[in-house]
Amino acid sequence: MSTEPASKRLVVEANAISLTFETADGRVDALSNVSLQIAEGEFVSFIGPSGCGKTTMLRVIADLQQPSSGTLSVNGMTAENARLARSYGYVFQAPALFPWRTIEKNLKLPLEIMGFSESEQKIRAERYLSMVNLKGFERKFPWQLSGGMQQRVSIARALSFDPAMLLMDEPFGALDEIVRDHLNEQLLQLWKSTEKTVLFVTHSIPEAVFLSTKIVVMSPRPGRIIDVIDCDFPVDRSLEIRETPEFLKIAQRVRNGLRAGHSYDE
């Protein structure tokens, strides 16, 4: 990126976050001493094997789970206040659309809840549906759309109330490679045009390197950050960039990080 991230406002400031579960098999350290800073407008990917705490980290930031210790500031407030102030839109791995609502009404649901006026709801539904290229599908029901289209609806829904951040938990994990590539390009466009801060959890190295300005590599047992990689490809990059040596170099560094996290394990 051309602008210096450090000069921008911080939207996430995590200090020594730890989270332990008590399970039947004993204590599980989902997160151990995680510190992280994310500036406004960044696209941050969390990558790592299952159980490394990347989803937990996202959920802690979203106030869907509470850390056992550590301090966390989201958009300048506590995580709970940030949630109450509707500072973020959350996209799950499954679209989680409401099957009895049309696409348009699904998009309007958060707006209804937040008390937007009827006319404003209509304007926003139109704007965000066309943003994810789903104009003309307003009256369809979710089952009439493919998985990729449904996920685009859920992204539009998360953006509809114009939150400061977009939190995405493996949003394309259930989709096939081709649809995934296509959606990655669209997401990049969206990020560029909306200038949102995006936090993106993924399993896929190429996806992380292609999309991010910053890649957070995590490792399990206990869940922790083992590397943070800055990544500054031009904003108008296309999928072809994945063949360039720079791209492969970063992908290699991510892979090394993941491997290092695994070495003592098994």
């Binding site: 979203a62 869907l64 949630r83 109450l84 509707r86 973020y88 839109g89 959350y90 799950f92 499954a94 989680a96 409401f98 099957p99 009895w100 609502r101 049309t102 649901l109 958060p110 209804e112 809840i113 937040m114 029901f141 979710p142 089952w143 009439q144 109330f161």
Partner: protein, 307 residues
């Protein structure tokens, strides 16, 4: 398939329609015919000694075919033949002015009003209970055992007590019957709706949380719509149960009016044909009620985008 049906798929040719009807109703029709045949055979077998003894008492000579014919039109048969029941039913429905005391329509209307009122009360009560249970774990633990207990006492034993107690505080006629009916039918609705209100996907609940929705918004925009399939499944069970409740409630009132009263007086005076005609009326009523609930369900489903 013909070429015209290929170019105009919306317009089915008559032969295709007829084919679909045959396919759909043939098994049902076969079953009905088989049952009627079995019924006739049973009517002959069960009424045989009755008719033969009558001939012998009157000391008239008789042939086997006389007895056979007698089993088909006895006045008080053990088991009336199907055509006798249908005649009595048709006569009860069309033979009298609708509000005459011998009209089946009159008695059906009496039972129907208690059924519908009981069903509405039961639905209201059942849904309210489900809401309380879903919103409070303490209430779940304290209410659920009582709800289950309430259904273990046979309603035949409870109905007279209800009628007497409610009569003592001045409640008579429609309301006591409806309360017994409601007492029976709230149960499947409460159980079904507890299941329905807790059926939303955890992701949908978390989404509501990320939008910081109030619990009222979660109820109206998520829990209610999710519970609709459960609601109709339990309403279909409940509507027949509330009909049974209304009929049972008519028995201890001494049989003034209603299908229950017809059943009671039919069995008192050995009027088996009247008894069976009242049963048919109850069956027709039950089917009609389920049909109405089904129609409402279809309407609601199509508005909710079911496929």
């Amino acid at each position: 398939m013909t070429s015209s049906s290929l170019t105009l798929p919306a317009r089915r040719t008559p032969s295709l329609v007829r084919h679909a009807i045959v396919e759909r109703y043939l098994p049902v029709a076969t079953m009905v015919l088989a049952l009627i045949a079995i019924w006739y055979v049973a009517a002959v077998a069960m009424n045989w000694t009755l008719v033969r003894d009558a001939f012998e008492r009157e000391e008239t000579p008789y042939t086997i075919s006389d007895v056979l014919a007698g089993t088909m039109d006895a006045e008080r048969p053990l088991l009336p033949a199907p055509h006798q029941v249908i005649n009595a039913f048709v006569d009860g429905v069309f033979g009298y002015p609708p509000l005459a005391p011998r009209s089946l329509i009159y008695h059906s209307l009496v039972t129907l009003s208690a059924t519908v009122l009981g069903f509405l009360l039961g639905a209201l009560f059942g849904i309210s209970l489900a809401l309380l249970i879903v919103h409070s774990r303490v209430l779940e633990r304290s209410l659920l055992p009582w709800i289950i207990c309430s259904q273990m006492v046979p309603v035949l034993a409870l109905a007279p007590i209800f009628i007497v107690v409610l009569g003592a505080i001045g409640l008579q006629g429609l309301l006591p019957k409806s309360i017994i009916s409601a007492y029976l039918c709230f149960f499947p609705i409460a159980i079904g709706m507890v299941k329905g209100f807790t059926s939303p996907d955890p992701l949908q609940i978390e989404l509501m949380r990320t939008w910081s929705a109030t619990s009222r918004q979660v109820l109206w925009k998520l829990r209610w719509p999710s519970a609709v399939p459960y609601l109709f499944a339990s309403l279909k069970v409940a509507i027949t149960i509330s009909l049974v409740g209304a009929i049972v409630a008519e028995l201890p009132t001494g049989g003034e009016a209603g299908i229950g009263a017809r059943l009671l007086s039919g069995s008192y005076y050995g009027q088996t044909i009247q008894l069976w005609a009242a049963l048919v009326a109850a069956a027709v009523l039950a089917s009609a009620l389920i049909g109405i609930v089904g129609l409402v369900e279809r309407g609601v489903n199509s508005r909710m985008g079911a496929h």
